[in-house]
Amino acid sequence: MKHPFLHALLRLPRHSGVLAVSGSLLLLALPIVAMWGGQAWVRILDFAILYVFLALGLNIVVGFAGLLDLGYIAFYAVGAYTYALLASPHLGLHLPFWVILPCGAMLACLFGVLLGAPTLRLRGDYLAIVTLGFGEIIRIFLNNLNAPLNITNGAQGINLIDPIAIGAFKLSGRTDIWVYSLNGPQKYYYLLLLLCTGVVVINFRLQHSRIGRAWQAIREDEIAARAVGINTRNMKLLAFAMGASFGGVAGGVYSAMQGFISPESFALNESIMVLAMVVLGGMGHIPGVILGAVLLAVLPEALRFGVVPVQQVLFGKVLVDPESLRMLIFGLALVLVMRFRPAGLWPSPERQRELAEAKS
């Protein structure tokens, strides 16, 4: 064991050091390799990591604690709008990011508790529909809070949002490092990678902690959990709050990276997309969730590049609108994966065992 600290930190099996080192080298080199395919691919990578971040946040709520949340994107929206309002010409404020990101996280956390508190008594599907309603309420407010007092600038959204900057070093635009010139999306990639590594570590640490085991107990049987002395109310609130704060941070970074946000980016579809990542990958299993997020973030984009040439080869012309075709394929993929891998693509070993037992 060369890195006992790292192993203890992540509770990884032994001899995974080589794998980890080569994996991280690959991740570090990825944006430079992707640049050969054009900046669009680097942006796709950025979004893939952002979605991993979001999916891991939602995984705390849905995967660990078993609370079905269909309004998760609301917290993302809260974080994004916090950043946009505090760092754009819209209100004339330009605070630095290390003030805003924690603010966004805290505000999202507060919203998480606000949503969690009244819904503690609700069972699975009722909770789903209430969280969904909450997400819609947030979106409708963002859409309409431009009159009589212009707070969110309504459907037009907010633009010219400041990039994340440390002194004179900005994450947007080009920076020359030795011989290589890094562009904006590449720099955001590294920031996102750093943040995401943090979330992965937190997720792993949480899973096997006292808190993680309490969540698991609540997920499997709430009454039994209460009977063995778990404070189910506080634990559920904690899950909501933690998931929400991660969403808030992700939203802030998204805001800074895009430079423009509008309520349209926080529609129900996005919540559903993040939930689909968690479930498709394998609920509660961290590597599975990461796989699900990367797949669902990259697949629609890859289809965008694929469907036009394929149609031209098959029919000689573009027969069907590529946008709807790629969403059609995406929907079918969801249905098929669930049909043949009902526990997700990469479920945790315990879950697989349970499923096998249930079948026999």
Binding site: A128, G133, I140, F141, P342
Partner: protein
């Protein structure tokens, strides 16, 4: 006073449409415990088929009234077939899968149907042809049209029909048995697979009727119209106590009325700070408030938690 009456009428019409759609959700949920997210899309396809059939028939010289009836039948048939195949292809193989799996499948089917509709019927708003000459009537300072009356009457008639089916026929008895306990119902000789298929088919037929009504009420249709409608209808079903037929009807009507009254009065209540574009909020606010105090819905059974 006339704002009140006017919004009450509008809410009643909108609410009876919600109620019809909500029945589709609640029947399926009552038996399988599944949120059939694709149900809103089934409603949308009903509207689209009706538009196409009316257009085709009137082009052939069929009088518009007859064309409308045939179009409604066609829409119902297509939706029933669609509902049946959804259950057969997408949901039945997942009967024993983890709980969230069929939910993701339903979301996937919803995406598929929406995009299929976009490929077939384009991404434009379609005009729903006017079937009968609209006449307006006054009552106590509020106005209502003959179309609104027809919608409410048709909705009430079909709901009465559904209640008769559920409480007076063998199939209905089987459905009630299956929703109480599928395993025991199976032991008693109920073919649960058939009952579930029937729930999907009946729900889809009511959805098609609702789609036809929405189309003729607003006179437009769009491939994304099913989503919000489905969402509101599901909210209505939860409001009434999901799995409960009468609850879905009451929940639908209630939701429609609350929404209409809320939209009519919110400007006055908040001194003009919030306007009627906040209409969509009411559905969800009411839902959250009701569930806070009655977690199983207004008319849901107060079942103890099962360990």
């Amino acid at each position: 006073m006339d704002t009140f009456l006017q919004q009450l009428i509008n809410g009643l019409v909108q609410g009876s449409i919600y109620a019809l759609v909500a029945l589709g959700y609640t029947m399926v949920y009552g038996i399988m415990g599944l949120i059939n997210f694709a149900h809103g899309e089934v409603v949308m396809i009903g509207t689209m088929v009706a538009i196409t059939v009316i257009g085709m028939l009137t082009n052939l010289g069929v009088p518009v009234g007859l064309a409308a009836v045939l179009a409604l039948l066609a829409a119902m048939l297509v939706c029933m077939a669609l509902g049946w195949s959804l259950e057969r292809i997408a949901y039945r193989p997942l009967r024993h899968a983890p709980r969230l799996t069929p939910l993701i499948t339903a979301i996937g089917m919803s995406i598929v149907l929406q995009n299929l509709a976009m490929i077939i019927w384009s991404r434009n708003y379609l005009i729903f042809p006017r079937i009968i000459e609209k006449t307006s009537h006054e009552i106590g300072g509020a106005y209502f049209s003959n179309v609104q009356v027809l919608i409410v009457l048709l909705a009430v008639a079909s709901m009465a029909g559904l209640l008769l089916l559920i409480y007076r026929t063998r199939l209905g008895m089987a459905m009630r048995a299956a929703s109480q306990n599928p395993q025991v119902a199976r032991l008693m000789g109920v073919n649960v697979d058939r009952v579930i298929a029937a729930a999907f088919i009946i729900g889809s037929a009511m959805g098609a009727l609702a789609g036809f009504m929405v189309g003729s009420y607003y006179e437009v249709a769009h491939y994304q119209m099913g989503f919000m409608l489905g969402l509101k209808a599901f909210t209505a079903a939860v409001l009434g106590g999901i799995g409960n037929l009468a609850g879905a009807m009451a929940g639908g009507l209630l939701l429609g009325i609350i929404e209409a009254l809320g939209a009519g009065y919110i400007g006055d209540l908040t001194g003009g700070f919030l306007g009627s574009h906040y209409q969509d909020i009411f559905a969800f606010v009411v839902l959250i408030v009701v569930l806070m105090f009655r977690p199983s819905g207004l008319f849901g059974e107060q079942t103890g938690e099962r360990a």
